[in-house]
């Protein structure tokens, strides 16, 4: 377990600047999720922590030790890749024990530690199979087993669930959160899926174009987004971000209100509109409305609401849940 500190870290590929200047502190034992759209530099940052990419400038510290120029295996990290990156010619047992074999640990110790990792991940019956004989979820578990067996100070995950189907992804999310609770190790997790970020992290770092937009606890980011980008990125369906008169009237450049913070009535309200499409999810109803004066709005209503395309509705933003993003970068919540 260790604290990870990035001090003014920079990354350039030739003349392209991917990460201009980034500083971040990842607390010991935290589950930190780096999240952002494709090409925002989150994977590059993770690879720089792993030592798979050189750092163009700045300093990387793991557990108080400067590892900026250190080889990946000397950093006390383990990494789980998107494609699992299992060695296809080795059995599960050999895959998990490979790092120990390279470290020339005694055979008995390798056996015990591999079996211990397999026990944690319920891989016992699969130890003598080759990766091609495993399902996607089992492969992912082996990849995690390979990380666990090294007793790393920091676990790095590079979009580990994106190759799994939706049901398995949900299951693995829970398993990873449980694993974090069990091991108590520092984990850094990269994803572009904000649901993964919200459900697993105790610290979320939102990135765009190599710059941290905001970092903090998931609910903090949800309730108090620092700018329209963060506001739009966190939350599903995404926040309604309205420009134009509705914002100008309140001396803001963007007026933000989450779909779940809009009240709907057929009698009266602030904005009038017509339902364009409604998604009935059972537990929720997501309604897409063309509203007069403000344009397209998304509204999320609890439970099954009998709205259909063409239904006229009135909408009112809940007070206390409106985010006004000012030109000077400040945010007011009214």
């Amino acid at each position: 377990m260790a604290e990870v500190i990035l001090n003014n870290v920079q990354k350039r590929f030739g003349s392209v600047e991917v990460i201009p200047d980034l500083s971040l502190r990842i607390a010991d034992g935290s589950f930190t999720v780096l999240v952002g759209p494709s090409g925002c530099g989150k994977s590059t940052l993770l690879r720089m922590i792993a030592g798979l990419e050189d750092v163009s400038g700045g300093q990387v510290t793991i557990g108080g030790e400067d590892v900026t120029g250190a080889e990946p295996d000397k950093r006390g990290i383990a990494m789980v890749f998107q494609s699992y990156a299992l060695y296809p010619h080795m059995t599960v047992r050999q895959n998990i024990g490979f790092a120990l074999r390279l470290a020339k640990r005694p055979k008995q110790e390798i056996k015990e530690r591999v079996e211990e990792a397999a026990e944690i991940l319920k891989l016992g019956p699969l130890l003598d199979r080759k990766p091609r004989q495993l399902s996607g979820g089992q492969r992912q578990r082996v990849a995690i087993g390979r990380a666990i067996v090294r007793n790393p100070k920091v676990f790095l995950f590079d979009e580990p669930l994106s190759n799994l189907d939706a049901a398995l992804r949900t299951q693995m999310r829970v398993e990873l959160a449980e694993l974090h609770a069990k091991l108590g190790a520092t984990m850094i997790y990269v994803t572009h899926d904000q649901v993964e970020a919200m459900t697993m992290a105790d610290q979320i770092v939102i990135m765009k174009s190599g710059v941290i937009q905001q970092s903090g606890q998931p609910m903090d980011l949800y309730k108090r987004p620092g700018n329209p980008f963060v506001a739009g990125f966190i939350g599903s369906p995404k926040m309604n971000l309205l420009e134009g008169r509705v914002a100008k009237d309140r001396e803001a450049i963007v007026f933000g209100v989450r779909p779940e913070h809009i009240k709907v009535s057929d009698e009266g309200g602030e904005w009038r509109g017509v339902v364009r499409h409604a998604e009935h999810l059972g537990s929720d109803t997501v309604v897409y409305v063309d509203a007069e004066k403000v344009g397209a709005l998304t509204v999320r209503l609890t439970g099954e609401v009998p709205l259909r395309a063409g239904s006229p509705v009135w909408m009112t933003p809940e007070s206390g849940n409106v985010h006004l993003f000012r030109a000077d970068g400040s945010v007011e919540r009214v």
Binding site: L52, I77, M79, F81, A85, P88, A103
Partner: protein, 320 residues
């Protein structure tokens, strides 16, 4: 017996032939397959059968077939001699030498050419401009015609005006050095040219194999603590095994067929010391008008080639 009404009878199952007719596959098969079968039969199957039929005859090649009657002499063109051609071949010192030489070609290909190709492939498989230039340079010898390559090296190794002359001058030797005319040197020169000419081909096979290895697997190995050589021997080479088996297959079958390089360089000399099986066949079968004998050598080559291919594919390459 009650038959429920209103249940539609299952449509009759289409046969594979009907399916092919319907989707146009049959037309394609009829257009493309007969020419291929015809060409393969005329140029491969028939000559193989002929060689098998000619091999028990002493026949100079005159007349349509050895067993046809020559009306002028009242005898057949050839004479049935049973297994004599094979016995002669087996006891012929030049044949034994050519067999040893062919085995040498195969040995050198596997022991020197493939490791050389692998080393270079490991050095230049990553995509970069300079690596592309090196790949082109190393592959160039393979593109050249064999006879042209042989001729070029016969000039290079000429004691009067080739590099061999410069080498002899450099060493201060008084006598001219003709390595292709020296028994201890001639075949080793051919071996050197074979390695030079074909390593690029194997290098390309290995490069293709290396490029198909996932970079994440190699990075995972790096994080696990694998150093460069450990990554080569524990990850890259095992994952390249299918490419290696293909390369060995080509090296062995190619080694059995070496001919075009030998003819312009040494023509099998001096004193039949640098023949390969095929150049031996050509010299002692066709040049000396012993078609029956040449056919016997051909049958031997065929049997060795087929036996190797069959065994190799059913053992080493099994399951690939």
């Amino acid at each position: 017996m009650l038959v429920s009404e209103g249940v539609a009878a299952a449509p009759p199952r289409e046969s594979a032939f009907q399916r092919m007719m319907a989707n146009g596959q049959l037309k394609m098969v009829l257009i493309f397959v007969p020419p291929a079968i015809l060409i393969f039969t005329v140029f491969v199957i028939l000559p193989m059968i002929q060689a098998g039929l000619f091999s028990p005859y002493k026949w100079s090649g005159y007349g349509p077939v050895p067993w046809a009657l020559n009306e002028d002499t009242g005898r057949t063109f050839g004479r049935w001699i049973g297994t004599t051609n094979f016995e002669r071949m087996m006891s012929h010192s030049a044949f034994k030498q050519s067999l040893v030489n062919t085995l040498l070609v195969i040995g050198v290909s596997i022991a020197i050419q493939l490791p050389l190709a692998m080393t270079l492939a490991l050095m230049i498989y990553r995509s970069s401009r300079i690596n592309t230039v090196f790949r082109l340079i190393f592959f160039l010898p393979y593109v050249m015609a064999e006879v042209a390559t042989g001729l070029i090296f016969s000039f290079v190794l000429d004691g009067n005006y080739g590099l061999s002359r410069s080498f002899a001058d450099l060493m201060g030797w008084e006598k001219a050095f003709f390595p292709l005319a020296e028994k201890p040197w001639a075949f080793y020169c051919i071996l050197g040219v074979i390695v030079w000419k074909y390593f690029g081909f194997h290098m390309m096979i290995f490069i293709a194999g290396l490029q198909s290895i996932s970079s994440e697997v190699l990075e995972a190995a790096k994080i696990d603590g694998a150093k460069t050589l450990q990554s080569v021997f524990l990850i890259k080479l095992p994952l390249l095994w299918p490419s290696i088996t293909i390369s060995v297959f080509y090296a062995v079958l190619g080694g059995l067929q070496v001919f075009d390089l030998v003819m312009p360089m040494t023509a099998g000399g001096p004193s039949n010391s640098s023949h390969t099986l095929v150049s031996y066949l050509y010299n002692f079968g066709f040049i000396r008008l012993n078609i029956g004998f040449g056919s016997a050598v051909g049958v031997f080559l065929f049997v060795v080639g087929v036996a190797f291919a069959f065994l190799y594919r059913n053992t080493v390459q099994r399951g690939q």
